[in-house]
Symmetry: C2
Subunit: 277 residues, 2 copies
């Protein structure tokens, strides 16, 4: 091996040294994850000699990973994705309030020898919205979908103090369960379960996977959409869903799914204690 630098390694991949700190994202599958690129870019921005790697681990093997994460001294943080967000909760020591509210963990850090989990799915969503200059406080917000993503978004939106939250899910009982959680968390914000009718709402958020597949219907009653409404989709691919395309055509401001991911990377880097962005 020639020891002279090659032209294409000016930006040689981290880690360059044995002193590099380690982070990982675990999922099953994991090959589709876009987070490693986003996190590694964020680490560089924050001036941290660290790298985030993907780990493909099946549910039956998750305990092996957590044990190794505990004992590996330069392994500082773990991002958790599908299908491990619920199962990993039982393998760690503490769960921060938002993680407990949502009943799912999507990030774990070491703190004084303990593994502390939290969930930034919803917080990332809110941070992404706010970073783009949109307010949630004082607005009526319609959330479509009360699964894992919808539940996380609803809890974080609640903390942003909207005027009202309406939840819709094809499974009404699931929507009602999340509504009940929200009301138990903060009874000063109005919360109800209703139809996917966007009229009268300042913000509409699609938290379902509708729009990922060609030929999907709209997740809301599209002919009731008003031009004053901010329309948000958490679907990542396509970047412009049929909902966002139609909303833009109707004059609405739109906000794409990628901003939730960006907001989350930013919030998680803060949680990991990595210097300012």
């Amino acid at each position: 091996m020639n020891s002279s630098p090659l032209p294409d390694i000016a930006g040689l991949p981290l880690p360059l040294s044995g002193a590099t700190r380690l982070y990982a994202i675990v999922g099953d599958p994991i090959a589709q994850a876009g987070s490693p690129g986003l996190f590694n870019t964020a680490f560089r921005r924050r001036g941290v000699e660290a790298v985030l790697v993907p780990l493909h681990v099946a549910p039956a093997d998750l305990a092996d990973l957590v044990r190794m994460f505990r004992s590996t001294r330069n392994f500082d943080g773990l991002v958790v994705t599908v299908p491990h967000k619920i199962g990993i909760s039982e393998l760690i020591d503490d769960i921060a309030p938002m993680g407990r509210r949502i009943g799912a963990v999507n990030v774990i850090r070491k703190s004084g020898g303990r593994l502390v989990g939290d969930n930034f799915d919803g917080i990332g969503f809110v941070r992404g919205v706010q970073t783009k200059g949109h307010a949630l406080a004082g607005r009526r917000v319609l959330i479509i979908g009360a699964g894992g993503a919808g539940r996380a978004v609803a809890h974080a939106v609640l903390d942003a103090r909207p005027a009202h939250i309406r939840l819709f899910d094809v499974d009404t009982a699931r929507a009602q369960a999340v509504a009940d959680e929200l009301m138990q968390t903060d009874d000063s914000i109005g919360v109800d379960v209703g139809a996917p009718d966007p009229s009268g709402f300042g913000v509409v958020v699609n938290c379902t996977s509708i729009g990922m597949k060609p030929g999907d219907p709209f997740p809301v009653l599209i002919d009731r959409l008003e031009a004053r409404t901010l329309v948000v989709d958490i679907v990542l691919k396509p970047a412009v869903t049929p909902l966002l395309a139609e909303a833009a055509r109707l004059g609405c401001t739109t906000h794409a799914g990628v901003h939730m991911l960006e907001g989350q990377v930013d919030a998680i880097c803060d949680f990991f204690g990595l210097g300012p962005a």
Copy 2:
């Protein structure tokens, strides 16, 4: 986070995606290891989307890492350094012939669900020497030091078919034990134990740590060194040890420790089954 590319991330660190394959080097400590930079450069040269990260794991925790290595599906290979080269042998399934001869493992790959270890310390040494155009076959070779490194180098030099191998160690019994191993492996090569006297040898190799600290003595009887002798040091820092400096002054050809590391990275990438360099 702005999604436009930044000027400084043209050579963004791998992994860029969730599809990146994982390799690691484990040691305790690990911060001093230079291998991650060398391996990541080699992966790029071979056009592999893979990254090698350092893992700081104490001996008591090594079994946790091996269990996680087994079960993590995109984790393909593990390089092993001090103090784990002997202890890890008991945690894996198979050890290739050179690893068994040396009684130590410094690399493990997955093969059909089994963990297979081998040792490239000596093979890397030989490959480094040969890559720089120096022959070992047919030459008399003096090896100074019969610890882990000396033992590995001696076994690999044996396979390169020298005319003779002489071993020296301040612990004569240790030198004799390695000499016995060599003779049991291949009785067609002359092997003996003797003084650190380089006269009459075509190749002299320092496999001790002498020369790392300021004020260290020479590891050989320096006034017996002949200009025709190839003088090799496996010490990495300083790159030019007092032995190499004095040998060069006397007109000898010299060969530094870094080439052993380079030769080893190359051999290990082959062992991992990564395309041609």
